[in-house]
Amino acid sequence: MDMINDLRRLCTAVGVSGNESEAAAVAKELLSQFTSDIRTDALGSVIGTVGTTGPRIMLEAHLDQIGMIVTAVDEKTGFVRFDRCGGTDRRVLAAERITIHGEKDIPAVIISTPPHLLDKADENKSLPFDKLAADTGLSAEEAQKYIHPGDRITVNPRFEVLRNDRVCASFSDDRAGVLTVLRALEILQNTDHGCQIIAVFASQEETGGSGAKTASFGVEPQEAIAVDVSFAAAPDTSDIHTHLGKGTMICFAPGLSADMSRTLVCLAKEKDIAYQCEVAGRSTGTDADDIAISRAGVKTGLLSLPQRNMHTGVEIIDMKDIEATAQLMAAYIIHRGGQRND
């Protein structure tokens, strides 16, 4: 795989929660290198199976991205009103470039309050969603023709290779996770891993996890490892002690399988894979929470890619962490396949 190029393709494909089809097409195409057994379920999750025997282990990442959704088009001015769809951060939207996915893709700019209209005290306040609007440059008539309530909006994606294998990639939450699962499949491609691997790229994580819930019901795995992004330390974060480039984040949380978390740590040590531990006191805030309680319960682990600036257009990840995470997933699959043969 050409990791940077594949990451670029995944991160720049459009797929806001509930309408992931374009991102799904890219994910399917990349997945087809490893299996021809690929389907899309009723909610839009992409499911690919590799191998026919052995423990059924699901490797999961979510396919959807945060975005916005059109609520109205002003009849007089053509300004487009919208709300968020998923946890979009309103602080980074002033004068931001977006695309409205209407009857055709319409480029637009989100309004920004000029300084002369700002009281000094308001300079550091961002507008709430109901005061934001998108400026398409179209007449009201044209705007109404192409744009309708319910249309999704995405921030125009940025993809910039920074220093030290770090990449600024909008929507690497969680397309970098999708890439990680694909890379794990590549590592396992010519091994006798002894498992039936089900790769799941789930829809609708950012709006509550419906995709993972239904996909794991449909897949019925024995075990699962989810991969998502999590917080990496930055100058303005406090109490975050996990770092970019320091390896995969192995999560310990009450709802996850402690046994799996410990096994992942042992394997990372044994294979000399860079890792760091992350601990959640309650839920993990990822699809792992839903997968673990699917049907009669699924032993579930969670690996995270450390990320800066989550839920903004300048999310940063480190390619080394993707590799470490994929290596650890692959090591776990080989370990479980080996247990069967024992």
Binding site: R91, A95, P115, G137, C168, R308
Partner: protein
Amino acid sequence: MTDMLRTLCTIDGTSGHEDAVRDYIIAHLPTDCEHRTDALGNLIVFKKGKSRAKNRVMLAAHMDEVGMIVTHIDADGYLKFTTVGGITPGVLAGRTVRFANGTVGVLGIKPIHLTSKSEEGDLPSTDKMYIDIGAVSKEDAETVVALGDVAVFNEAFMPLGEHKVCSKALDDRMGCFALLQLLNEETSADAYFVFTVQEEIGLRGASTAAFQVAPDYAIVLEGTTAADLPDAQDEKKVCIQGNGAAVSFMDRSTLYPPKLYKLAMQLAKDHNIPVQTKTMVAGGNDAGAIHKAGAGVQVLTVNVPCRYIHSGSSVADMRDFDSVIELTRLLLGALADV
């Protein structure tokens, strides 16, 4: 035609670093004019028109744009900066910037998940922001960036709708583009065309340029703020995009001579050029320095209304630009012969 505007906007030129903009303009000057660059970097062009001007007329637009300058590199390789010109935190957070050597940096922000309810929606002030180039240490960062290096918004030029454009630096490459366009046609009278430096940090270039040219009249071509946005009160909109060239009677730096303001409005009316009054006393521009130069200069400002000015994505309407060109063409002839 917009190819030239696209290139002009895409060139980096924060205040004090206008060289590349100036080089481009010089390369696109017609052969029938004289030009020189002064000590501060102002480009002063003289072009003969059809008739000898009775008065000395100067047209001015500034080459510089707002940006960021690196003030400190910390132990972890993050760059601290200050803004060059006025930029509000809201248009910086979550964007990327670009240095002259191609290095791209990110203006990060603490994830929304980690902010408390009480600080919801609050932006860090610019002095709390930092540029993240992916460096892992001070030494690592210093291989590509040094103190004093400047960065611009890392945004491309794009058309918006049928008539509009979206770009960084429309303030005031719009004005530069207008001057270049006028220079490349047959003008009615002799005139000085001045491309100034350092407007955004206090109208510094215009002051020395006007001193040298010592004009009788000056016309400043600017991109000015248009606040014709939803939820904005009418009296605070300043000007309306699409309603034509915006002419100022007063801003925070200048009281414009009423007879010049009236002349501009009358000429527009007589020639059916869309024109509007810049309605609020807001902002300032090179006219503030020019009118005080030497023994005093009578000035006028003709503006292209720009939304989201001083961001990486300001928006202007090319129809307004066309009105600015038409009106300026007439004003040049009129002021030369008043």
